[in-house]
Amino acid sequence: MEYAVEARDLVKRFGEIRALDRLSFQVREREIYGLIGPNGAGKTTTIRIAATLILPTSGGLKVFGQDAVKEAAEVRKLITYLPEEAGAYKNLSGYEYLQFMGEFRAENSLELERMVQDAAEISGLGDRLRDKVKTYSKGMKRRLLVARALMTKPRLAILDEPTSGLDVIHSFHVRGVIKRFVEQHGVTVLLSSHNMLEVEYLCDRVALINKGRMVAEGSPEELKNKLDVANLEEGFAKVVGFA
């Protein structure tokens, strides 16, 4: 069976620092797979490798069978990527931004129009989309960016901390959108988070990562049972050795 994402023995060094240390995992098609772990665990590094932005020192990663290093151009056609700290061009309006980003993927103007309409719905920003991005609050900006990442219905959406820095209401909205969209359109999602609540709600399966290594993997339920804990947070602390 072909995996949506297949990481094999990923190693990434930044000088002396080993950000990833032989990390392997597989993401099945149409599932939401979460990478969870503390700051510096290697979540973002993994995600950046999958997004073809950085190269692994050794090991490999394939997206639907295409190599993220050797066939990066092909992989970029299959994915969309939402960085943890992402911005939008602040002098464009929300609509203009969505249009600009859609043009890279839409085959014709009809498709582009549909994409932008979808994005408007996903973001739930309504008329505010006519305003310039620089007038948006952090939450609105993030909703715009999530909509941008999903509107093209990519085969794989790579989301780094999708609710990063958002308050309860915005987070709630974003999570709901991701979950619904994946169910409706059969998109596969690779996301990272350190919000255990979010992970339990969203993910079909999760990988617990610490110091660049996988320490546990399974569905949130499986992990809780296996580790004999009430929630993932506790489980995480147990595995990493704090509890």
């Binding site: 000088g15 997004a51 073809t52 932005l53 190269l55 056609k77 994915i79 911005g87 890279f104």
Partner: protein
């Protein structure tokens, strides 16, 4: 107190506002000083051609007087008419001025009629210091005139332009030409600096606004992104250069009319108006230089985290633009000391300014060679910029600084 600490501990402010001026101004001073000095040296001796068509008592007297002046080397012209005299004068590259004593000069003076002397100054487009020799000569003649008896002869001043004697006062010509000599290098420099600033800002703001990562994950060729950035910068820079030129031109005209100069100089008749070939050369040279400046700006800004540091990095690059600009404005590069000459010719941004000058002086060969050199330089830089965009370095250069603190890499190490 906290403000002071914050500001002083910011390396960008420290380097940009304190160390840079300390380095920059002495450097500029040195450049201007040396170029004026080297021109000054060529001024210490004036090689003056005298074409004596009179061969009378007073013309010989005048020749003796001029040869007695220290630092004037007399070159006797044996020609029989003006055009031949000019041709003969120009066989000596050091000769800057010609005095023509017409037939009947001595007879006129002896009979107390007003006599005429023609002077011609060679126009060579050397820069702002040009024209000093002709004023020395005219002062000497005025002195001689006074010693003799008031107003016994009058002087008609002319210029030698591209080997042709012209009835145009060298001072009027210089006034017109020097505004050109000023406008062009300044415009070129401003254009280059604007373009660099814009390209650097464009890349750095993608980083600062965190849009670069998203952009790089899109299914578009990285080289296309690079070209897009550069094209955008060229367009904006060109618009601003035009606006600048218009403004500067207005300033110059208001300045010269303010001086009350009523002399109109027909540059076209003098062969000094830029030809279409020279415009093309200037355009080509400028285009190549802008591309290389943009590639350089993109490379450098890839190593910055935000717009502010990108801009302060750019200000270091301004030195290599200001340096040739000042040299071209204030001196003739060929008269500079060897070391300075090598530096000037090594900097690619010297060439569009020389090409701008060539538009008026017709030294095309240098302009063409310059274009080739700049083009080669540009290709290398573009290649490096493309490589940088194609790899993860455009992101990791920032990541290292941000994520892991202490490691700062210079652009040279990575490029």
């Amino acid at each position: 107190m906290k403000e002071l600490k914050e500001l002083l501990r910011d390396p960008k402010i420290l380097i940009g506002m304190i160390i840079m001026p300390l380095v920059m101004f002495p450097l500029l001073g040195m450049v201007i000083g040396t170029s004026i000095e080297s021109t000054g040296q060529s001024l210490q001796t004036i090689t003056l051609g005298i074409a004596d068509f009179d061969q009378g008592e007073w013309s010989k007297n005048l020749t003796r007087y001029l040869s007695s002046v220290p630092n004037i080397v007399i070159m006797k012209i044996t020609a029989t008419n003006l055009n031949e005299a000019v041709a003969q004068l120009q066989t000596n590259p050091k000769a800057t001025d010609l005095i023509v004593i017409p037939e009947g000069f001595s007879a006129n003076i002896s009979s107390r009629k007003q006599a005429t002397i023609e002077t011609y100054s060679v126009y060579s487009g050397k820069g702002l210091t040009e024209g000093a020799t002709s004023s020395i000569i005219s002062q000497l003649l005025a002195q001689y005139n006074r010693d003799l008896a008031p107003n016994l002869f009058k002087t008609e001043a002319g210029s030698i332009v591209k080997g042709q004697p012209r009835k145009i006062d060298p001072r009027a010509l210089l006034q017109v030409m020097s505004s050109q000599v000023l406008v062009l290098p300044v415009t070129v420099s401003i254009l280059l600096m604007f373009a660099m600033q814009i390209a650097a800002t464009s890349v750095a703001s993608e980083k600062e606004e965190k849009t670069l990562e998203t952009l790089l994950s899109l299914p578009i060729d990285r080289f296309t992104i690079l070209l897009g950035k550069m094209t955008g910068s060229i367009v904006v820079a060109a618009v601003s250069a035009v606006a600048y030129m218009v403004g500067f031109n207005y300033y110059m005209t208001s300045l010269t009319t303010g001086l009350g100069s009523q002399v109109t100089v027909d540059l076209e008749a003098l062969g000094l108006a830029p030809s279409s070939l020279s415009y093309m050369l200037l355009g080509a040279s400028l285009f190549a230089a802008i591309l290389s400046a943009l590639a350089l700006a993109v490379i450098l800004s890839a190593f910055t985290e935000d717009v502010r540091s990108a801009q302060s990095y750019m200000s270091y690059l301004y030195i290599i633009i200001m340096f040739p600009m000042l040299l071209v404005m204030f001196s003739d590069i060929n008269t500079l000391p060897l070391a300075l000459k090598i530096v000037a010719y090594a900097i690619p941004y010297t060439y569009p300014m020389l090409a701008a000058k060539a538009a008026f002086t017709g030294e095309y060969l240098q302009a063409i060679l310059g274009i080739l050199y700049v083009a080669a330089f540009t290709v290398i830089l573009l290649y490096l910029a493309a490589r940088l965009f194609a790899t993860e370095k455009i992101l990791t250069a920032k990541l290292r600084i941000r994520g892991f603190g202490q490691r700062r890499k210079g652009p040279a190490a990575e490029a």
